[in-house]
């Protein structure tokens, strides 16, 4: 069930925004809000997922607390987004646990380590090169194919349910292009004029979060591309790992890993400095754990590469693959979903 008190509170705040309109230039939320003849709960959900939590509207707001109108749009939209992600997740209970509790994320990470150490001990191959000397390619596929595909299927079901709720129609090429352009430049964290957002420095603008997020996003995509390319090379060209540095998987994966490491590190650092009350405060722990999980994935990947040829490889391999496993399995139940919902919100035409 949609949380009515939340969408009512969002509607109350939207009504005040609609009469003021000073924030029109900050992001995509306001022009869409002002064009709506009437606010419905579904539209509030859509606008909540469009909001990137840049907080510009809060620090510029003449009605922010202690004013009696008590406007805190970033917080109410963050809560509403959170509600969307948990409500559309299957099973919902898992989403509630992992979104809220960083400790639960850490527990899954430890289970991931344990599973990989166990698998490497139990399925130790007779022979193999590189990493395959410790865990065969087939064993890796056996573990990671379902761990990758099943969560994504679950996420697809959730997104379909969300897309129906907000009344999203057919997606056109123009919608995809608009969404892609917005994501690639993180337009909604630009503050409207390139000055950035209000995150770690209160009322002062800064592009730090936008840049950190870009590093995370592009780093993640490069790492993902590295794995994809390696898979194609393995099955298509019969060129099996280990790959030398001057090969597509490494040329994508190494800089991607560095970017991801720096980006997530910076995001965690910024998050420590930002005002908690302008986000969904109850899920702060889960959000932080997710950022640190991504950091662990990238840092252990880089460490593993650095350790090539040393005795640390088997342990680092288990740790890295354990982290990747935890990340994959938790995808539908952590902050990772925000990217997918955000892309959906950006694709929806403003009709």
């Amino acid at each position: 069930m949609l949380d009515n008190t939340l969408s009512d509170e969002a509607a109350r705040q939207f009504q005040i925004c609609n009469s003021c309109r000073y924030c029109e230039g900050y992001c995509d939320v306001f022009p869409q809000l002002f064009s709506l003849p009437e606010m419905s709960a579904a539209q509030a959900t859509h606008l909540a997922n469009l909001c990137h939590n840049c907080r510009g509207c809060y620090y510029a707001c003449q009605y922010a607390p202690p004013h009696e109108f008590d406007l805190n749009l970033p917080a109410v939209l963050a809560e509403l987004r959170q509600d969307t992600w948990e409500r559309h997740a299957r099973p919902q209970a898992l989403a509630r646990v992992f979104h809220t509790h960083g400790v639960a994320v850490a527990a899954v990470l430890i289970v991931g380590f344990a599973l990989l150490f166990f698998a490497m001990a139990a399925l130790r191959p007779e022979a193999g090169e590189g990493f395959y000397a410790y865990l065969s390619h087939n064993a890796m596929v056996l573990i990671f194919a379902p761990a990758f595909v099943l969560p994504l299927l679950g996420l697809a079901v959730s997104l379909r349910s969300y897309w129906r709720e907000i009344g999203g129609g057919w997606v056109t090429w123009a919608d995809l292009k608009r969404m892609g352009g917005s994501v690639a430049r993180m337009k909604n964290l630009s503050g409207g004029a390139g000055q950035g957002c209000n995150f770690e420095q209160g009322a002062r603008y800064s592009n730090a979060r936008r840049h950190a997020h870009q590093a995370t996003l592009w780093g993640f995509l490069m790492c993902f591309a590295a794995t994809s390319v390696a898979t194609l090379m393995h099955y298509g060209l019969g060129w099996e790992a280990p790959y030398p540095f001057w090969s597509p998987p490494k040329l994508l994966g190494v800089p991607g890993g560095i970017l991801l490491c720096l980006g997530t590190g910076a995001l965690a650092w910024l998050k420590l400095r930002a005002e908690k009350g302008l986000g969904a405060a109850r899920v702060w722990g889960g959000e932080m754990a997710f950022v640190l999980l991504l950091f662990t994935v990238s840092a252990t990947g880089l460490a593993l590469y650095a350790a090539t040829g040393t005795g640390a490889v088997p342990a680092l391999l288990a740790i890295h693959l354990g982290a990747v496993l935890a990340f994959f399995v938790l995808t539908p139940y952590t902050k990772m979903v925000h990217g997918f919902y955000r892309m959906a919100a950006l694709m929806k035409r403003n009709t």
Binding site: I16, R21, Y22, C23, G25, A60, Q62, P66, E68
Partner: protein
């Protein structure tokens, strides 16, 4: 006890412009803001744009807006109640102020939706006036200006005709070699407002900050400073009657009057609702409502008018019959039905065009409705409560073109004033959108430069 070069009293736009200019000239500056940090910025936090002269496109401004046209616009609203030298100075300087503002962190945006008529004359602040105030505070902090919040000044020590110190309500003396008075008008002091205007003023709502109590203005006038502006008048507009007593700001405006029928407490009409488009009439409606019993009025529309005006922040009262609406609004039902019936029978056929004077007038009704007069006949009916909302007061300090304050025996040698506290010289009557920020910026900058030059 502390000693500064320049003491700036107030924490809004004019004060910040003065502090930044003085600090950039090398002066050691302190800002004394009476509000707490979260409510800093005086009425500037409620503003949204800056009226700016320009020869050709400038930043977000299109086309040209020259001195002659700007001055004409000012004369029209003030009915000539302006000091021509100061007014022309403010207008001319506005053009160089805009780039200065951008250099000091203010970001402009194109005119907001629903304000297209202002895209040539007024540059809008991205995020509004509070974002501008935030940018200036950040700039002042970076320049090393000391900022004291929750620091209401109760007395300016002008003994021997010179400023020596500002005294806070807790008795702290902040000593300085020059002072810039930029602490606004007195519109938030309801007792003063009531003494000046009459007992009706107790029912007025104050649209802006509750911190503009005129304490410094009163104190300096009591010490012989020369005043300008009508001491009994305030700029008063019709706003939503359910707005908070203070600080309701922009969202409390109610734009429905031209498309409504407006009655008083006794369900009687009292003025032509369709005399002109709302931007040209909202100011006189403040006085009109102030003159009604209990200083209250009710605008009534039917379904046809929905969507013709900006959405109000408070949902209107809604009923399927006029009697039902009267009951919900606490108006006499029979009287309202009769007023509506008389009005409806005076409406004639013709084409209705919102936004422009369409000449669709009532026939044989007193007072008439001269435009947009359509019968109220399509339920549901909507009721909006109106009250007078005070924006600012006109009484202020007389200053020179260099923003220096006129004392009883000539110019005070180290006292300057900027913003609402001296705006009455230029805006003797009426209001021109975005001009308050122009006066504050131009004279704030001048005051800061002069004060710094004096101590330098």
């Amino acid at each position: 006890m502390s000693q500064y070069d320049v003491v700036v009293i107030g924490g809004g736009n004019a004060a910040l412009c003065a502090a930044i200019e003085a600090a950039e000239a090398g002066a050691d500056v302190i800002i004394l803001e009476s509000a707490p940090q979260h409510m800093r910025g005086g009425n500037s936090r409620h503003t949204r744009n800056f009226r700016c002269m320009h020869q050709g496109p400038l930043s977000v401004l299109t086309d040209t807006y020259d001195e002659a046209e700007y001055y004409d616009d000012l004369l029209r609203v003030t009915k000539g109640q302006t000091d021509p030298e100061l007014a022309r100075l403010a207008i001319r300087e506005s053009e160089t102020c805009l780039p200065w503002m951008e250099r000091h962190g203010v970001i402009f945006q194109g005119s907001l939706s629903g304000t297209l008529s202002l895209d040539r004359t007024n540059a809008f602040f991205l995020g509004g006036g509070k974002a501008l105030v935030n940018a200036y505070y950040a700039c002042a902090e970076d320049l090393g200006v000391t900022i004291r919040y929750d620091s209401e000044v109760r007395h300016i020590d002008l003994s021997e005709g010179r400023f020596s110190a500002a005294v806070l309500t807790d008795g702290t003396r902040i000593e300085g070699r020059a002072v810039v008075l930029a602490s606004g008008g007195f519109q938030a002091d309801l007792d003063w407002l009531t003494r000046a205007w009459g007992p009706e003023a107790a029912n007025f709502l104050i649209r802006g900050t509750p911190y503009n109590r005129g304490v410094v203005l009163r104190d300096v006038l009591d010490q012989g400073a020369v005043s300008v502006g009508d001491p009994t008048q305030c700029h008063c507009v019709a706003i939503d009657g359910r707005a908070p007593k203070f600080d309701g700001g922009i969202v409390t405006r109610l734009d429905c009057v031209p498309y409504a029928l407006v009655v008083n407490r006794d369900a009687a009409r009292f003025y032509d609702e369709g005399e002109d488009v709302w931007p040209k009439r909202y100011a006189i409606w403040g006085r009109l409502v102030a003159a009604q019993p209990d200083q209250i009025a009710y605008a009534i529309t039917d379904q046809k008018a929905q969507g013709l005006f900006m959405p109000p922040v408070f949902a209107p009262v809604k009923a399927d019959t006029i009697e039902g609406l009267a009951q919900l609004l606490g108006l006499p039902g029979d009287a309202l039905r009769q007023t509506v019936a008389e009005y409806n029978s005076a409406c004639r056929d013709g084409s209705f065009t919102p936004g422009v004077l369409d000449g669709l007038a009532t026939d044989g009704l007193d007072p008439p409705k001269t435009n947009w007069a359509r019968p109220l006949d399509t339920p549901p009916y909507y009721g909006y409560m109106l009250r007078p909302g005070v924006t600012f007061t006109y009484l202020g300090l007389k200053v020179t073109e260099r923003a220096q304050v006129q004392g009883a025996h000539g110019l005070l040698p180290n006292v300057w004033a900027a913003g609402e506290i001296m705006a009455g010289s230029i805006l003797g009557q009426g209001y021109l959108a975005g001009f308050g920020m122009t006066i504050g910026t131009v004279f704030g900058r001048i005051a800061g430069q002069e004060a710094a030059a004096h101590v330098g």
